[in-house]
Symmetry: C2
């Protein structure tokens, strides 16, 4: 139950076998940005770029140079003053920090439109993620083949979940079912041994401590945008009403 503890405790401050930096504990806001830095760096590495300054990288990633340097400082001191960062070396350090150096298996539950879109997505394999299962509860969906032609995948029955996890083939579960089924699927994933879940269903999942759930909700994103749309409209309205312009609009 309470095996998972913050890294600040007792043994954590000491050198951790692998050694290197003294402190640990990377802020979650930083962790969420590391994948962006990583992707941009990989692109530049492929393009043959050798070094990059915090200003350039920050610009490409849409953050401020100060924030970028602060983020990178949590990983260690991998830059060179007066020069910048080595593109490949920094990309490697980030990938190591994110745990991308060893491949992760992903099992997707729900082979509807979204599940099909996910297995067709090429961005997974190139980032070290392998889709090791696409499961569905509907008997007539089981057996169908989806995904990119070079890496097709056959829909399996839900009963495949437990062996896939037990064999260590999957560490991450993806829920691509309707909202009604999400909690049930999540419970089964957790019972099978998964501790990392990505939820695309519009449902709030309740999980025991130690299980990490991330949620992607299309409708929520649109509603947040709608809020800003409305705020803009209100502001514009106010501007029209109170401010000293009002010209140049009525043609």
């Amino acid at each position: 139950m309470s095996t998972v503890r913050p890294l600040t405790s007792s043994t954590a401050a000491q050198s951790t076998g692998r050694g290197r930096t003294a402190e640990r504990v990377i802020p979650s806001a930083t962790v969420a940005r590391l994948p962006i830095y990583h992707r941009v760096l990989l692109g530049w590495a492929d393009a043959g770029r050798q070094t990059v300054s915090s200003e350039d990288l920050a610009g490409a990633c849409g953050v401020s140079p100060a924030k970028l340097r602060k983020d990178l400082s949590y990983l260690g001191s991998y830059g060179t003053r007066g020069v910048g960062y080595d593109v490949r070396f920094l990309a490697y350090q980030i990938s190591r920090e994110l745990g991308l150096t060893e491949p992760r298996g992903v099992v997707i539950v729900g082979a509807g439109n979204l599940g099909q879109a996910l297995v067709a997505y090429r961005g997974f394999a190139s980032r070290g993620f392998a889709i090791v299962g696409l499961l569905d509860i509907h008997p007539d969906t089981v057996g169908q083949r989806f995904g990119a032609p070079e890496t097709p995948i056959t829909v399996g029955p839900m009963s495949d979940l437990e062996p896939i996890v037990a064999d260590g083939r999957a560490q991450i579960g993806v829920i691509a079912t309707p909202a009604e089924a999400a909690q049930q699927v999540c419970d089964r994933m957790v019972a099978a041994g998964l501790r990392s879940v990505l939820n695309f269903a519009p449902a709030v999942l309740h999980v025991p401590e130690g299980v990490e759930v991330r949620k992607v909700d299309l409708a929520v994103e649109l509603q947040i945008l709608a809020f800003h749309e409305q705020r803009r409209a209100e502001e514009h309205h106010q501007t029209m009403e109170h401010a000293s312009l009002g010209k140049a609009i009525n043609a």
Copy 2:
């Protein structure tokens, strides 16, 4: 260029035509949670529930009661001490705050697997969003029909974008193209007049001030989960190494 300003300035403190509460400025962290509260409340309203306490609603939404009450307090005082909140009334207040009372049009660019999944998703219409266009650059994709049988949609050419926005049919643009095309599509959306963009492509978009971009990146979500996976493994490793247990595992 600089028409959009924070609401704290000059005229904002005064009553805003519609009147009601004095202050404004809802924290973005709160805005991001309002859609969750809203969805849960709608479900309970449908189920016939009349009132709800902050404790119950918070539990269902996966937040603490204190956070929930603080969030709701930004909208006004819509609860009753000793009783709780009226389910329907609160849902309405949230929907009004989010700007869901008037329908928003959404235009999707990119009719690949993801675009098809989006138009098939039922969660949009039920939240006041109408997909008014699904556009693609490939001539052989244009003309195909996708989406739920009751609300099919025909793929249009990219040239449909400008009239759709100009006519006021769409306020939100969704980018469901490969990464390479994303910036170009975004630029065209902004030029057409859109100020709210939801980006599913794994690319950092650069937009002028006043344009709101939200990004959903599957690979990023997986990489964040991978980080936690690794941290768990490290912790477990440390526990095995340093701590005083070590028993009960080796069978």
